[in-house]
Symmetry: D2
Amino acid sequence: MSQFASIGLITKPDASQVIDTLRTVHQHLLEQGIQVYLEERNAELVKNAQSLSREQMGQRCDLAIVIGGDGTLLGAARSLAEYDIPIVGINLGNLGFLVDVPASDHLSHLDQILAGAYIEESRFLLQACVKRSEETFCQGLAMNDVVVHIKNVVRMVEFETYINGQFVNRQRADGLIVSTPSGSTAYALSGGGPILHPSLECITLLPICPHTLSSRPIVVAADSLVEICISEMRFESTHVVYDGQEGCDLQPDDRIVIQKSPYPVRLLHPKDYDYYHILREKLNWG
Amino acid sequence: MSQFASIGLITKPDASQVIDTLRTVHQHLLEQGIQVYLEERNAELVKNAQSLSREQMGQRCDLAIVIGGDGTLLGAARSLAEYDIPIVGINLGNLGFLVDVPASDHLSHLDQILAGAYIEESRFLLQACVKRSEETFCQGLAMNDVVVHIKNVVRMVEFETYINGQFVNRQRADGLIVSTPSGSTAYALSGGGPILHPSLECITLLPICPHTLSSRPIVVAADSLVEICISEMRFESTHVVYDGQEGCDLQPDDRIVIQKSPYPVRLLHPKDYDYYHILREKLNWG
Amino acid sequence: MSQFASIGLITKPDASQVIDTLRTVHQHLLEQGIQVYLEERNAELVKNAQSLSREQMGQRCDLAIVIGGDGTLLGAARSLAEYDIPIVGINLGNLGFLVDVPASDHLSHLDQILAGAYIEESRFLLQACVKRSEETFCQGLAMNDVVVHIKNVVRMVEFETYINGQFVNRQRADGLIVSTPSGSTAYALSGGGPILHPSLECITLLPICPHTLSSRPIVVAADSLVEICISEMRFESTHVVYDGQEGCDLQPDDRIVIQKSPYPVRLLHPKDYDYYHILREKLNWG
Amino acid sequence: MSQFASIGLITKPDASQVIDTLRTVHQHLLEQGIQVYLEERNAELVKNAQSLSREQMGQRCDLAIVIGGDGTLLGAARSLAEYDIPIVGINLGNLGFLVDVPASDHLSHLDQILAGAYIEESRFLLQACVKRSEETFCQGLAMNDVVVHIKNVVRMVEFETYINGQFVNRQRADGLIVSTPSGSTAYALSGGGPILHPSLECITLLPICPHTLSSRPIVVAADSLVEICISEMRFESTHVVYDGQEGCDLQPDDRIVIQKSPYPVRLLHPKDYDYYHILREKLNWG
C-alpha cells in the first residue's frame, strides 16, 4: 500500500530516451491505485495520461519521481522547492549523486519507497539575486552552485567578496563558484574544491583560476550572507549562472547576493543508500 | 576593574625571548590587584612571582594569558581544555591565527579585554586514541589536527577510513590529516586542504600525496566518529601525531579513533578581531 | 657608442601613461646619434618624431624598445617575430617577467644595453591555426599561450588531444591551455600548471577545470605537433585565443593545430638579469 | 635469429611469484641458442642455470630482461647504467610505465624484440651526493627521483635551492622531490607534479606540503646543477632517498648536489609501444 496517493512524474527535457521507463513507471503506479500525473510537455507520450504543470504538481502531489540524470533532478528541485514535496530520482543507467534508484530493477526499488522504506534527506538550496543601483533583479535558486564567470577568456573579472558584511578579499580570477554540499561533487570538484558531506550546513567559495596563487577555497556557514561585488571588468564580459542553467550578464558595480533558501529539498533514497559508495563509484576510487 | 580576579601566564618553552613581555604583563596585572601566576618552570624569571602547575592554573585561574606563538597557545588549550578557562594570546611580533593581541601595544589591548571588551569564541578539539587488539592507548587531544604519517619516505602506508562506521575508502598515501577548522590554516593548508571558518562544526580529512589521483579532501560533521584502520605498512614506519607534538608509532591493524572532544576551548579576542583580516595578512592576499 | 644605429620605440595602446618615459627615452637616444622611430599611432606624442609602422620597424631597426607591461611586449614580439630584431622592455614601475628594465633608472640601464652589456635570450613562439573541413583559417602567433575555452560557464567542451598524431586523451573541461615556458608564469600558472624555465624547449598542455579528476598537466617537446579536435560542444560556445588577444569561435569537428614557430624572439636583458629573482618577487616567495 | 647472443634475467628480490615466468623465459631463450644468465641469488630456481652477478651481466650480456614491476626495473637500470646494456621489462599482470611487455603472451613479444622489432628509448638518470663540510658521501643514482624528506611529521625542514649556482628560493616544507621525466608519473605525480614526456631533457623540482602557498613545481633543464642546502631542521629528522630505496640521514648545512648522470638507460619497448596508452590506463583516463 503506497504512502503516496498522488505522484508526479518528471523527465528530462528530451524525453525520447526515457519513454519506455516513463510508461512502465506510469502503468506500475496506476496499477497500485495511485493518481499519476505527467508534466504537460510529456502528456502525449503516454496514452490517456493526466498532466499537470510543474507548479500544480507541487501543490497537489505527495511525491515527485524524476526519471533522468542529476541535472533533471536539480531542475525539479528548484521548481518544486517551495512546495515541500519529496523527490526521488531514477537514473537511466548512469548512477548519479542525486538520481540513485538504479535503472535496472527500478520498480522493486520504487515499491519499497512507496511502502515507506526509504531514507529521507534534506538538502538546502541557495537563493541569489543581482543588485544593480537600487534595483534587484535576476533572482534564482541553485541546488548545486551559483557561479560568477567570465564569458571570454580574454577578460578577467575583479571582484570583492563579503561574508555577513565582513570584507574577505579582492580577487582577479576567471570566476567564483559558490557551492552547496550537493554542488561540491559537481562543478566545484572540477575547480579544485573539497567534497562536503551532504548533511553539512556549509557553503564553499572557490575562485576559478585565481591570479593570486595563495588563494584557497573557503568554507563558511550555510546561513552566511555572501556578497560578491564586481569591481572591474571589461566589455560586460561576465555573467552569473544558477546550477549551470539560468542567470544574467553582469556590469561593474553589480552586487550578487547569495544566501540559503528557506525552502529545503526533501530527497528520498532507497534504504541501502550509501553516500560514500556513490563517491567511490563516481570518482573511480576503486 | 578587571573581570578576572586571577590570571595564569603561559609562555613558550624557551622563555628567553619573552622575558621582557612576561615581566611587563606580570607587573601590569599585579598593579591592578589581580592575582597572577606563572608556570612553575618560569617561576625564576620574575622576582617574587607566584607559580602554579598548568593543571592548578586550570582549576584556580579565571583567565590564561599565553605569550608566544600559535604553537604555545595550542599547547595551553590542550592542557587547559577540561577546566573551562578562557584563553587570550599575545604574539611576539608575528601575528598568529590564535595569538592575536599585537606585541606592540599589548597592555592597552589587555586592559580592554580585562574590562570585558572582548569577543569570545568557542573552538572544538579532537580527541584521539589508538586501539590495538583489545587495548586502548596513546590517547591525546588536538586543537589543530591528528596526523597519520609515514616516518620514512621509502614507505607508503595503506589505510581504510570509516565515518560513523561507514566505509569511506582505502588509500595508499604518505598519510592522512584529520583537521579541525582551527587546523585548516595550519598543516592541512600546506597539504592542499580548504580553509574552514573557525565557527564551523566540521572536520576535514585530507590525504597527503595520495596514490589515487582522484582523491580529494572530504569535509564531514564534527560529531562524526572517524576511524582510520592501518591495513598495510612496512617496518612499523608510520606514526600518529597530535598537533604536531605527541603521538606514537603504529602497527598494522591499529585503529585510530578520532572524535570531537566534549571540552571546547574558549578563546578571547580583542573587540576588533577580524578573522578575514588575519587570513589576508597570513596568506599574503594583499 | 651604441651597437644599435636605429631603434624603434613601442608603447602600450593607451600611451597616455607612458608619454613622459617615451619622450625621455626618445630624446636620450637622439642625443647619442641614434635614429629613433615611434609607431605611427604615437607620432603626435613627440615633437618632430619620425614614425614607422610595426612592420617597417622590423625591417629597418636594429632594436625595439618596449615601454609598458608584459602584455605590450607580447604584442611587439608577435608582430616583430619574423624580422629577427632584438627586443628590450622597460616597465613602468611594476616589474614584469618580460619587461625587466626598471622604470627608475632606465636610462643608465639602457646605456649599458646599447653599449653591448646585455644578456640575450631566445624564446620560442607558438603558431596556431584552425582547420575546418578542408579549410585553414584563424591563424595566429602566441608567445605565452594558445587557449581553447568555453565562452559560457553553462557549457563544457569535449575535445581530443593528439601529439604528433598520437592520441593522448579525450576530455571534458572548461578548456585547455597550451603554453610556452614564457606563458608558464602567466595564465597557465593560475590554472595550476608548473613553472617552466624560459630556456626549455617544452610546451605544457593544461586542462582547465577538467571533469576527470585524475587529469594532470602534461609537458611535451616544443617541436611536437599538437592537435586539439573539438568533438562536442553546444551552441558554438567555445573559442580559441592567442595570448589572450585574438582568436575565433569554434565549431564541432574543428581541429586546432599548434606547433612551434620557426621565428624565435630575441629578448635582451640587463646584465644583472636573474630569472629566479623575478619569480620570487612576482610570486611573493619572500 | 636473435640480435642478442647473451642475455641476463633479472627478477624482483622475492622471486617466488615469478618462478614460472622465469623458467619459461629461460627455457625459451636457451632453445634459440642464446646464452642465458640468472642472477646469483636466483641460481637455485632454475635447474642447471648459469649465473652472474649484476655487474658481470652488465659486462658480458647484450640484453637484460627484467621480470617484475617498475621498481625491479628501476633497480636494474641503476645497477646496469654504466654498462650500456639495453633493458626490457616483462610485467606480471600489472602494466607498468617501464615494464610494458605484457605477462600474457610475453614469449611472442620477446621473440619480436629479439628479432630486432623494438623501439629503443633513452632515459637519463640522476646522480646525487651529499656534501658535508669538505667531505662527499652518500652517493647514489636515481632513475625516478631524489627525495629530501622529513622523517617525522613533527618537524619541517627548511632548505635553500640553487640551480647552476643561482639562488632559487628558501622553503619550509615536508620535503622536495627532484624528479626525472620517468619519475614524473611516480611519487612526483602524487605530490602534485606535472607529467613530463619521457623524451624530455628536464628535471622537476617539487616541494612537498610547502609552507609558502604560492610555491609551485619548477621544471628546469636536465643538465642543470641542482643544489639543496639544508638550512635548518631539528633533531636530524631529515633524510635523502634515491628512487625510494637507499639514501642517508641529513644534518644542517648538508648540501645535496644533483645532476644528470653521464650514463643513460637504454629501454627497449615492443613495436606497438604507446606512452599515452599507458598513461590512460594507469591514470584511469578511460
